[in-house]
Structures are given as structure tokens and as C-alpha cells.
Subunit: 211 residues, 2 copies
């Protein structure tokens, strides 16, 4: 227990005006969850600090006790969305027994699962126009590393090894584009079962790769 407030015991500080059953999350996590829902559905700029705070169960001003504003929430969410994919990519790059094609397939499948899984369409955050801002350089760096892992795995396959450098770049872009494109597919039909879709996308990715 402690900082997370996991147990229902009375907490220090003035009680919230809007009493609700304990979510089990820390206030910051409640804010992040609320921001995730609102940013993905309504967009970042259209979401007010009031909307985030009240969905999280507190008043607008109380939010500032935990975060400096909306930007910080988006930055946090973005990084937390790519990080698991990158972890997976690093493990697959380190694996030197499984054939490269199989590892690439697995990276694609996992990435699609992560982009489309979860309660909210977190992958949808990638699509927000605000994300291009300098402020989110951290996210872009992590994402670039992920894309490079795709490139390396592709280059390690027989088909990829035969490509000229510029051809390899183009294939990588198409491959990465297909994977990120699933965010759009998922958005237009969120009910589709994710596992089968992730496998089908990984199959398609290898066909693009020329394997």
C-alpha cells in the first residue's frame, strides 16, 4: 500500500468533493488514465484540464498538485506506449538462435498487439498532430530506435540482406508504415479480435518484406 492508496483506508488530506469507490490507482495514474481516454477520443487540444481532472475524480485545480499540465500527461503517455515495444525489439535483436524472419514476424505481432490492445486506443496518440512538437523529442527518439530494430531484423533476413541500402530503407518504411497503419484500421473497427488480426498483420508484413 502506501503511495498507491491501494487499500481503502482513509487517506491524509481533505476528502474529494466527488466521492467514488477507490480505483486502486494513484492520483497520478488516475489522471493518466483519464487523459488517455480523452486524448484518444477527442484529441489533445480539444481536451481541457477540467475534463481530465473531473474524469479522474478530482477538481480542475487539484490536477496541478500532480502534473504541470496537459503536456506532461501526453509526454508520459507517449513514452509509456512505445517502451514495451522497444523492450520486445531489444530482446529479439539479442536473440541469435531464432531465424531473423521469425523474429521480425514476432516483433510485428507483438507491436500490433500493443498498439491495439489495452482499454483505450493508445496507439491513437501517435496520430495527434501535436505530437510532432519539439517537446516530445523523447518519444521520437524511442520510436526511431524501434524503427531501427525493424531495419536491422529485416537486413538480417535472406531477402533483406540482398537489398541495396536505399531499397532496404524503403522496405523498412513500408513495413513500419503497415504496422503503424493498423492504428487506423483498429480505430475504424475497434471490435475486431486483436490476436488474429495481429498474426494476419505479421504475415502481411513478411510478404511486404519479400520473405
Amino acid at each position: 500500500m502506501g503511495a498507491t492508496g491501494a487499500t481503502g483506508g482513509r487517506r491524509v488530506g481533505r476528502p474529494r468533493a466527488d466521492q467514488r469507490p477507490d480505483s486502486g490507482l494513484s492520483p497520478r495514474a488516475e489522471l493518466l488514465a483519464a487523459a488517455a481516454e480523452l486524448f484518444t477520443t477527442r484529441g489533445y487540444a480539444a481536451t481541457t484540464t477540467r475534463a481530465v481532472a473531473e474524469l479522474a475524480g478530482m477538481r480542475q485545480a487539484s490536477m496541478y498538485h500532480y502534473v504541470s499540465g496537459k503536456e506532461e500527461l501526453l509526454a508520459d503517455l507517449l513514452e509509456s506506449t512505445v517502451t514495451p515495444s522497444l523492450t520486445c525489439a531489444r530482446e529479439l535483436l539479442a536473440d541469435d538462435v531464432t531465424p531473423a524472419g521469425d523474429r521480425l514476424w514476432e516483433l510485428c505481432r507483438t507491436d500490433v498487439e500493443l498498439l491495439c490492445g489495452g482499454t483505450h486506443n493508445l496507439g491513437g496518440l501517435y496520430l495527434l498532430p501535436e505530437v510532432r512538437a519539439e517537446r516530445f523529442a523523447g518519444f521520437h527518439a524511442v520510436r526511431a530506435e524501434l524503427k531501427d530494430a525493424y531495419r536491422q531484423l529485416l537486413a538480417a533476413t535472406a531477402a533483406g540482406g540482398a537489398l541495396a541500402k536505399s531499397e532496404l530503407e524503403l522496405r523498412t518504411d513500408l513495413l513500419f508504415g503497415l504496422i503503424e497503419g493498423v492504428i487506423l484500421v483498429h480505430r475504424s473497427d475497434p471490435e475486431r479480435p486483436v490476436s488474429a488480426f495481429a498474426e494476419a498483420t505479421a504475415d502481411a508484413a513478411l510478404r511486404i518484406a519479400g520473405i
Copy 2:
């Protein structure tokens, strides 16, 4: 000349406060161009009516002489972006001499050219979260028709004809996802020459289709 004000002749009405060389566009077209640039770079919600109007060369209030507000501008832009693709799709569906695979390839290529061509990344409008609103049902209808054209062309190929209905839907989604995904690829590298990229994407699309 006339409504477009194409010639530089003096026009009726109070002169604009900010004098500029004649753009050759009608005021409404100037507003649409300004909105396209701002919506695609900063996002819809983050763009103010003032920003649109001043980029178009007029004062904020003058905009209301031509449009009812931002929504109308976005609705117009969205429809004008899909319409050319749909025109192309209809022509290809009507063509009963060219093999279906070739027509599908051509649809993919043209669509990518249209999504990535043009001055601003107009395809980027598809990514705006606001676009899902009921207000833009017209756009969604046109886009659904376009997707259906992909499905029909795919079904008409030898590979597509062999697929069960649910398999065909899945392939169509992946195909359409790849094409719309190029918006993301284009956004992350807008300098890439479009023609070669469009052909490479069309090749990749046929590989996904299983042709």
C-alpha cells in the same frame, strides 16, 4: 474573371487592411488553403479562426462572410480530399478489359499520389481525432465507398476470388490500412519523392493481397 477575382482589377467593397499581391484565388479558396495548412500542421482544435483568417489575408471576423466557421472548412477539405480517389476508383471498376490485379495496382498508386501529393499533407486530415464526429458523415460515406472499391477489385483477382468472405474482408482492411498508413510515412519524411514511393507502395499492396 468575376467571382474568382483572377485579374488584378479593383474589387467592390472595402479594401483589406493587409494588402497583398493577388493570390488568384477566391476568398473562400484562400480560407480553405489556409485551413488546410494549419489543420494539417497544428491540428484542428488548436487552430483558431483568427489564425485561419489572417493566414488567408483577412481579419478574423471577415471569415464569417464566407463560411459558418471552422467545421465547415474541415468538412469541405475532407470531402475534396477523397473525391478524386473515388473518381479514379469508379473508372477502374467500370473498366472490364484490364486485369483486376493491374487495376488494383493502379488504384493504390493513384491513391498514394493523391494522399502524399499536393502542397500540404492533406491526407493528414484523416488523422485528426475530430474527424470521427457525426458532423463528417458525408466524408465517411465517401471513404466507405472507396474502401468498397478496393474490396471489389481484390475480389476480382484470382487470388482474391479464392478467399472466403471473412478472409476477403481482412485482406481488404490490411490493404486499405497500408494505403492510409502512407500518410504516417509521408508525415515522418515529407521530402521523399512521391512517384517512386507510390509505385513501391502499390507493389507492396499487391504482395499483401497475395498476388
